[in-house]
Symmetry: C2
Subunit: 335 residues, 2 copies
């Protein structure tokens, strides 16, 4: 048992209506009670901000959610600071889902050890975190991306998109980014190595896609929903594969993506697969076996956008949900 401890936290004050704003959140110092027997106390070092959090705070993430007054959820890299478990010693770096707070007490089952030899622990949240696992599940396990594929990725420089693009490139596919603005265009082409980049604001997506993918799109990794989904679906090659993974437009509010007319899937002989990353936790060993050497060798670019301090989390998250982020959004909470 240990003493109480002040615990800087960010809580949800009201469910956002549309794109979230920082006043949907409040920074509070809460009290972390005494550590219960068997629990392991951790200090957050890095916090991952991801779009799924939007549906959790809306209360409808795969049927689950949080309430106002709760700490906002999220995956973190933490350091063990108190433990009675020899398998989880003080000083060890771990990954857990403790959310937007400085400290947490976790049972051993809630912790995953971070692979040694990572150049920096924040990579756990991008390359080896949920974004990396999601990209691997979609590109490798579901779409079976291979040489000759023409792969389109919206939200192209974000956490999942950046990983998916690099996997597709490594498999020999042609990669097409959909993004917006000069900064993200540069990152897509120069940092992440996309073959083409379409600006969804300045260009007509259908026309631009027809120009760079005249034979059609063979793999579409959907992270955003309509209208992009339908426009890309109309340019699928016969037998194209579509991985449905995110609906960022819908997360932000009352927009209700309808997706293309089923007749389009028939005409295209498409295979459309729904992806929920949690299903792939049992395959994490296979995923890590593939990704850790790549991460260690510097062969995967994490393209992180790192914000300083827990208090920056609300605005950093809102920026992500506005689509203004230029990389995988991570908050550096402590060292």
């Amino acid at each position: 048992m240990t003493e109480n401890r002040d615990n800087e936290s960010v809580i949800l004050t009201q469910r956002p209506d549309g794109v979230p704003s920082p006043d949907n959140f409040a920074f509070e110092v809460r009290s972390l009670g005494p550590r219960a027997a068997g629990m392991i106390r951790c200090q957050t070092l890095f916090l991952s901000l991801d779009p799924y959090i939007r549906s959790v705070i809306a209360g409808n993430h795969l049927g689950h959610g949080i309430d106002t007054g709760d700490v906002v959820p999220g995956e973190v890299v933490a350091r063990i600071i108190e433990s009675d478990d020899q398998k989880w010693p003080v000083g060890m770096l771990v990954r857990c889902h403790s959310g937007w707070q400085q400290f947490c007490d976790q049972p051993a089952e809630g912790l995953s050890q971070i692979p040694q030899a990572l150049s920096r622990p924040s990579l756990t949240l991008s390359i080896l975190g949920m974004p990396g696992l999601t990209a691997w599940a979609g590109m490798v396990s579901i779409a079976n991306v291979h040489e000759g594929d023409v792969v389109v990725i919206p939200a192209a420089v974000g956490g999942v998109g950046a990983m998916a693009a690099q996997l597709a490139r490594r498999a020999g596919a042609t990669t097409i980014a959909i993004t917006s603005g000069a900064d993200k265009r540069r990152i897509a082409l120069e940092t992440l190595g996309y073959d083409h980049c379409i600006d969804r604001v300045d260009q007509d997506l259908a026309e631009a896609l027809a120009a760079v993918a005249p034979q059609g799109v063979s793999v579409y990794f959907d992270l955003v929903g309509d209208p992009t989904l339908t426009t890309v679906a109309q340019q699928l090659a016969i037998g194209g594969r579509v991985v449905l993974c995110g609906l960022i437009k819908d997360y932000n509010g009352n927009h209700k993506t309808m997706g293309p007319h089923p007749g389009l899937w028939i005409t295209k002989r498409a295979t459309v697969s729904g992806l929920v990353v949690y299903d792939y936790e049992p395959q994490r060993a296979a995923f890590e076996q593939e990704f850790i050497p790549l991460a260690e060798a510097g062969d995967l670019v994490a393209n992180e956008e790192i914000h300083e301090g827990l208090a920056s989390a609300p605005e950093a998250f809102c920026r992500l949900m506005r689509g203004d982020n230029t990389g995988k959004v991570v908050v550096h909470v402590d060292s």
Copy 2:
């Protein structure tokens, strides 16, 4: 070269608006000109009526169609009556796509020999025809139906549905028919051996489905589009497979199926595949190897609804498009 020949034909007089009516068609005696060198003259014995014809006469079947004044298309069983090709002798029974007419001249490439030993040649149009191949492609090749699956089939006693149900049953799946009326219910349960039958008019589909498939639907063979598609999709089991094959509601007019929200496919981790039967012609040998012995042994029920005489085709087709048929619709043209 041979003489002209009177050729009873059914032509399209106007594109239907909504459900077709017999006055969209006209029975005419046209002249079949002299047979050109290399062509094989055939006499139609049986004509297959199938829902895809609705989109052909609308002019939008996979980008193709016919015009008013054209003979209505369709697959037939015919007998060769004139030929100079020893491989295609007079008297041989063949399958071809010559449409709603008494005679036709076909190149050898347009003909397929009908397997010997079928108990009656019309089975070529059901068990071994497009309906059988469609059912095989969807159930075996795409959905890989297996023991323990819970399979839902709308248009359950029609050509494709009847074959799909029998394939699913043979694989050890539980089969659920969606149909309407006492006649079709009896055929579904007694003739075709479905385990359950839901009446889409008299019953609430969602409630009835929840009652007979409390663990969810693992395979849905969609032949009809919305609203059935969305209702069944909502009751998919996690990891359910959906074969999109037909949109009968849409064929009949301005109704535009939207299909379920893509978020539902994500939540259900569904795999949704578009099926166009023409893609499976290269696999016909594998299909026939499986189906001919079953057909010969009487292990597949064709459940034909046979109409007499070419002049009956328009009303028989309209009946099909109203959903009033009680089996695979075939017109007996000649003996």
